[in-house]
């Protein structure tokens, strides 16, 4: 008998990652050097943070396609603020970034909650709106490294206990989510709302409010990542993180978070993001052109979702197999 722990989705995914890393290491041992692994983790940190935010949104049967646009808009705003007022302290900038992101998340959430517009339509719309606003406020201009203050650029790269601040923030967010999901009523509510909205109403949970809260969390994290991203790469422009929303959704799907809501875990989202991050970082190392990256991550999504579907089949007595399948 295989112990149930090893049959969990997280264990299988962790195994897949280990095999992947092992295969790379067998030909390029330098890849598994601790310093390089730390680099890979640091590169993946933004994806991890966003995937966790996206996870709670997907748990409540919604989707947030506006995360990358939110990230880019917040990044542009803080970069412009920094250019205008170079003296602004970093904690204040962090506060502004998180609040602005949360505000954009709130806008999504209110449209879904109060007006009952389908989430995919709302976030499709706000995605284009937020991107458009970046162009309007920046006039299409880039903000380059020399226009940003040194303190602004240095923060995510500063090394604390051997790891850059960016990595530490990702670790803190992961820990925060472990508490939020496992130890708070809100965390339970996310699962309840996604698992069965009608039952959730009868247990006294406000479904719309919970979905709105998920959007605010996702937005706040996107805002936070917006500052970190712009500061780390020391450049802000309209197309920053273009198409990144799909990578975020992909990380969640690979991590076993059910797009139908109600199923998922912090570990899953983390491992899903790490998987994509390792693939992205390993391609140049093993001499495959980066042009392969899209095709590989696409295949990974399809394989992951096929795998999830087969392991999620409800066990028990199925009377009408065909009907069950269609539903």
């Amino acid at each position: 008998m295989i112990p149930p722990v090893l049959k969990s989705r997280e264990a299988i995914l962790a195994g897949a990652i280990l095999i992947l890393v092992g295969a790379i290491a067998s030909r390029f041992p330098a890849f598994v050097a601790p310093s390089n692994l730390a680099n890979v983790f640091n590169d993946t940190a933004p994806l991890i943070i966003l995937a966790l935010g996206q996870m709670v949104v997907i748990l409540t049967r919604c989707i947030d396609l506006s995360v990358a646009a939110n990230l880019a808009l917040t990044g542009m705003v803080v970069a412009m603020l920094n250019t205008a007022m170079p003296g602004l302290p970093v904690p204040l900038i962090l506060l502004i970034a998180v609040s602005l992101g949360a505000l954009m998340g709130l806008f999504n959430g209110l449209l879904v909650w109060r007006l009952d517009i389908p989430p995919i339509v709302v976030t499709l719309g706000t995605m284009t709106i937020y991107r458009g606003i970046i162009f309007v406020i920046s006039g299409g201009e880039w903000i380059n490294a020399h226009e940003m203050s040194d303190a602004f650029k240095a923060f995510p790269r500063e090394v604390v206990l051997g790891l850059p601040v960016l990595s530490w923030i990702a670790i803190l967010v992961v820990l925060g989510f472990v508490v939020l999901i496992g130890r708070t009523p809100l965390g339970r509510a996310f699962f309840a709302v996604g698992g069965n909205p009608h039952a959730a109403v009868y247990t006294g949970i406000n479904v719309g409010l919970t979905q709105c809260a998920a959007y605010v969390i996702s937005g706040a994290l996107a805002g936070l990542t917006g500052y970190l991203w712009v500061a780390r790469y020391a450049v802000a422009y309209v197309d920053i993180a273009g198409g990144f929303e799909l990578e975020v959704v992909a990380a969640c799907v690979i991590g076993g978070i059910s797009i139908a809501g109600g199923i998922g875990s912090v570990g899953g989202a983390l491992l899903g993001a790490l998987f994509l991050g390792i693939v992205k970082n390993a391609l140049p190392v093993i001499n495959i052109s980066p042009f392969w990256q899209l095709a590989i991550s696409g295949s990974a999504i399809i394989i992951a979702v096929a795998f999830n579907a087969t392991s999620n089949r409800t066990k028990g007595r199925v009377i009408l197999k065909k009907a069950e399948h269609a539903a």
């Binding site: 719309g125 992909a250 052109s289 065909k322 399948h325």
Partner: protein, 338 residues
Amino acid sequence: MSVTAPDTSPAGRQIPDRLKSPLQRFLGSWELLLLGVAVAVFILNSFASPYFLDPWNLSDATFNFTEKAMIAFAMALLIISGEIDLSVASIIALASTAMGFAVQMGADTPVLVLIGLGVGLACGAFNGVLVTGFGLPSIVVTIGTMSLFRGISYIVLGDKAYTGYPSSFAFFGQGYVWWVISFELLLFALLAVVFAVILHRTNFGRTVYVIGNNPVGALFSGIRVTRVKFALFLLTGLMSGVAAICLTSRLGATRPSIAFGWELEVVTMVVLGGVSILGGSGSIPGVVIAAFVMGMVTFGFGLLNVPGIVMSIFIGLLLIGVIALPRIARQLLAKRKV
């Protein structure tokens, strides 16, 4: 979404929707509202630039939406059935890449058309098998194939481009059939009629609505749900192939970034056309008008030298606004009655 508030007659009796005459149904319909928006945009455009009403300009304006609308027709059917295909733009890229590859091998126009349509069908079949055969959610499957199909284009092309299409191939995207009527516009009109007939006048169209409203009910009524859905994925793939032929011919070149972001514009067009994203309701005339609205808005902004990305704000607001406004109005009315 699909439930419309019943109208009240002067006597206070409620008239069910099915008892209204077609004219009554049209007044107060989504299509009429959209038509109003289209006319308003048209009038605004003619004030915005003296060149707008020039027939050649008006004809050029149609290129802004004809290719997307061809896909939107098939996408409308797919969304009504409760599924979605986010890989359409990537299918265009893959079909266009295949055609470009064939051109380098010395293929001529008829072969290119066959390849374009064939790749479209093959991609549609791949999506269809994954969704219906394995019972996977279409939004995730097509996010995956969206990366996969475009990824293959990037692998084949890298940072290069394919050019050198035969001159006879240019007809599909650049040819004019009758004075200022382009081949694409004619094809768009033809396809609009064909899809309207399929959806609104055939048994197949009826089953699409039934599946969208209640897939389990449809199954128990003897409808082959998976087969119909598979056919709809094939159809969406095929129309993406058609759009790929037109777009490649119009641009005269293939790059892996061709039609980037179109999937969202196509979905916007369909939703703007009054198709419920949750499935079960919508119409082809609505999509046709939405196509004109979006094309006209894009063109009008172009005349005013507004950058493309600012137009996207407007398209986004339009998408949310047209869905939100009736709901806000209904909520306000409901409050007043209490």
